[in-house]
Symmetry: C2
Subunit: 121 residues, 2 copies
C-alpha cells in the first residue's frame, strides 16, 4: 500500500499536526516554554491524562517534542519543542492567521443571514 509518492506534501504536513490536541500542545510549546506534564494539563483543562501522554509520545516520535525524564521521586518530566519542531512555526502562524480571518468571515456571514431573516418578516 503506497502513500502517494511525490504527491501532496500537504497531507504529509497535516499528518504531523492533526489530532484533537496536538496543535494546541504544539502551540504551547512553540512559545519556547519548557513544561512539565501537569503544567500542560493545566493549560488544557479538558484533555485527559491518557490523551496528553499519547499525543506527547507521538510528537516525541515525530521529533517535534523533546521529552526529558528526571529519574527522581516524585517523577519529573519536562517537555519542550525541538529545533526541528520550531520549523513548524511558520505553518502554525499561517493557520493561526487564517483562522482569525475566518472567524471574522463567519461573523459577517451570520450578520448577513440575520439581516436577511429580518427582511423576510
Amino acid at each position: 500500500m503506497k502513500k502517494n509518492p511525490e504527491q501532496c506534501q500537504v497531507v504529509v504536513a497535516l499528518d504531523m499536526i492533526v489530532g484533537k490536541w496536538k496543535p494546541i500542545i504544539i502551540q504551547h510549546l512553540l512559545s519556547g516554554d519548557i513544561l512539565r506534564f501537569n503544567e500542560l494539563r493545566r493549560l488544557m483543562p479538558d484533555i485527559t491524562q491518557r490523551m496528553l501522554t499519547l499525543h506527547l509520545r507521538e510528537l516525541e516520535e515525530q521529533d517535534i517534542v523533546q521529552r526529558v525524564v528526571y529519574p527522581q521521586i516524585p517523577p519529573k518530566v519536562e517537555y519542550s519543542i525541538t529545533e526541528y519542531g520550531k520549523s513548524l512555526g511558520p505553518v502554525m502562524d499561517a493557520m493561526h492567521h487564517w483562522g482569525a480571518a475566518h472567524v471574522e468571515h463567519m461573523k459577517l456571514k451570520n450578520e448577513q443571514g440575520a439581516s436577511l431573516d429580518g427582511e423576510a418578516n
Copy 2:
C-alpha cells in the same frame, strides 16, 4: 458546549481542511481549474464517489468551493475554488513547503538509522 472562545484559531483553520481528501481537493481547485465531478474523481483515483460528494458538500458549505449545476441531461456540475477559498493558498503553501522539508528530514533520519545498524554489526 463552548468551543475555546478566543483561543487557538489554529484549530479553527484545521477544522476547515482536515478530512482524508479535503486538502487534496482544495489543492486541485486552488490551481484555479474548474473541474467536473468525474474529473475530480480521475484526479483522485482512490476516492469513492460517496466521499467525494460528502467532502465537496462540506467545502461548499464552508464557502471554500463553489458548486455550479447545469440543469441538463446528462447532468453537469462544475466545482471551483471561491474567492474566499483562495485565501487558503498561503496556508496550503506553508504546509506544502514544510511537508517537502519533512520528507527530507525523514530521509536523513533513516539513513542515520541504517548506518547505526551497520555499526552495530
